[in-house]
Amino acid sequence: MIETIALSLVNGLVWGCILAMVSIGLTLIYGQLEIINIAHGAMYAVGAVTAFYVSTYLGSWAYSLIISPLVMVVIALAIYGSSLRYRIVGYPTWVTLIISYGVMFVLEQLTLLIFGGAPRCIPNPLPYEVGFLGGKYPLYRVFAAVFSLAVIGSLVLFLKGTKLGLWIRATNQDHDTASAMGVPVPFVYMFTFILGSMLAVS
């Protein structure tokens, strides 16, 4: 009984870390740009599909850690450049909500068209277990949790300790004043959207 409770607690914490990493991108985009990015889940799926193809054709899962976020940079740029950039300042939140809703459908259907509906699996890159209260726990989940914490920590450091981070925070507080102070507000918006999208596929 104690083992089951302890396992559930540890597992909950691990999943919490993983979900936090996926959702922090959503939070960043909403917090800074006030865009409710309904397409965030679809972006996550695109990242997973990219990772599947990369690991299948290049033979190693490690490549997808680099290639999937890069693919997402291209997609995020296309989404931002084609629609969102014109509808952030001075428009109600529901306008970008509808745009991202449309983007979600496009991404979902494209994924279905290219990948199909059949479920596929990326082989476990760390197929080992760690001992846990007489039982076993998958090592890659521990890795994923640690990686998530590292990404979240890096993001906090980036926002607090770099010039670009300062620009993002300043733009969020008052974009007019930030612009008057020389902050390139349109660039900051674009960068924030791309960063948030990349976090969905990390």
């Binding site: 083992e3 509906g117 479920p119 596929r120 476990n124 197929p127 039982g135």
Partner: protein, 413 residues
């Protein structure tokens, strides 16, 4: 020509045109068959496959003169793996497209929702949903099921497990009609065979993390019976291995799942399902028809379609659904929905042999509950592919699965 003459000429021309282009002779009015298949969502590997085979069957029939001299029109709608959407599409097919018969996907929730409406709209449906109650207490005379159901697969599974897998089982399943059907029936069948179900647990469809559920599997369990489909099977099997569980897992379907997606624990996976993936897994009396059918619909001998994404074991139901309709129309002399009762009576108790029309094997459409009794297949992941270990013939299952309703007592409009 004066205006008056021109008007008269036009009037005569219009009348002539109207007479010539009048209603087509009754014999050439097409028979409209609709289908609600899940072309998107979690069940799309079933829906897309069944759509592919149903469409191929209609083309094959039309090239040979149609059904009873009438061409067949096939209209498919996407059920999107959502019962509410599917029900809406069913209504559209019947009320707007005027379909005479409708094929339903393997989504049991859709079938359960559609059954009373089908009766209301006087439309006969053929379903691939395998939850037990569809041809039980939730069914009616308007529904036929052209595929064995989950209970029958579980009976076959239990018989096989008793011989091969051990004495103690643990049940896991998706928390909906079909998942419960698989696990509960297995439990019921295990008792007389000397297998004890140590417990059972159900998780929502699409569960991402099976660890909390797998941690409940007792150490004494010799094997797991799992009522899951598609991605859930992959997650369950991989996560069981990651947790160090090294016992066989008997699942209800492996449709479109590749060996390598099952991960390092693949060889522990068994499956009780409705067809063989490979051609060679079919009995000799069925294989020639199965081969021809695969050539027509575009499946290879290993059981994959041209895209390599859809496998063969379940999707023959689309093909056979069309041929059940053909058989019913031809044997009853059905002309329109007014003849639905004759159609039902023609199929109630109908027996078919293995043939190109019925390439999955011989079967009976049981008169009482409109449930097909056909062969069930035991598959196993082994040596890099999914192989067929046994074919449990319909007549072996029949004594274990008596009907619990008799629709023939129902009145039909």
């Amino acid at each position: 020509m004066g205006r008056k003459s021109l008007f008269v000429c036009l009037l005569v021309a219009f009348c002539l045109l109207f007479c010539l282009a009048g209603p087509a002779p009754a014999g050439v009015k097409p028979i409209r068959i609709g289908a609600v298949y899940d072309l998107t969502g979690a069940l799309s590997v079933y829906g897309s496959g069944s759509n592919m085979t149903a469409k191929a069957a209609v083309e094959w029939i039309n090239k040979r003169g149609g059904i009873a001299g009438r061409p067949v029109e096939y209209i498919v709608e996407d059920g999107a793996t959502d019962a509410a959407t599917g029900i809406r599409k069913f209504r559209k097919l019947v009320l707007k497209d005027r379909c005479d018969f409708v094929l339903l996907s393997c989504n049991s929730g859709l079938a359960v929702g559609v059954i009373p409406i089908a009766k209301q709209l006087n439309t006969i449906v053929f379903t691939e949903g395998t939850a037990r109650q569809i041809t039980g207490t939730k069914g009616n005379r308007y529904v036929f099921r052209q595929i064995n159901n989950a209970e029958m697969a579980a009976v076959a599974m239990a018989k096989f497990a008793a011989r091969k897998l051990g004495k103690y089982a643990f049940g896991m399943g998706a928390d909906y009609e079909w998942g419960h059907s698989v696990v509960d029936t297995a439990e019921r069948c295990f008792a007389p065979l000397g297998i004890k179900m140590l417990g059972k647990i159900f998780s929502p469809i699409g569960t991402v993390d099976f660890v909390p559920y797998l941690s409940k599997v007792p150490k004494e369990a010799d094997f797991i019976v799992a009522g899951y489909f598609t991605a859930d099977v992959i997650k369950l099997v991989n996560q069981a291995w990651e947790l160090g569980l090294r016992i066989p897992i008997f699942v209800g379907t492996l449709q479109s799942i590749r060996y390598k997606d099952l991960g390092p624990g693949a060889d522990l996976v068994w499956c009780g399902t409705y067809g063989s993936r490979s051609l060679e897994g079919y009995p000799e009396d069925v294989r020639p028809f199965q081969k021809k059918y695969r050539e027509i619909v575009g499946l290879n001998d290993e059981g994959w379609d041209k895209t390599g994404k859809i496998s063969a074991e379940y999707i023959w139901a689309g093909w056979e659904g069309i041929f059940w309709i053909k058989k019913g129309i031809e044997e009853s002399g059905w002309k329109s929905k007014k003849d639905n009762l004759k159609f039902m009576q023609a199929l109630e108790g109908a027996r078919v042999e293995a043939s190109l029309e019925f390439p999955q094997g011989p079967k009976i459409m049981r008169a009482e509950d409109h449930q097909v009794i056909g062969d069930t297949y035991i598959l196993k992941a082994e040596g890099g592919k999914i192989v067929t270990k046994a074919c449990i013939r319909g007549e072996e299952i029949l004594p274990f699965y008596p009907p619990n309703v008799d629709y023939r007592k129902e009145k039909v409009r």
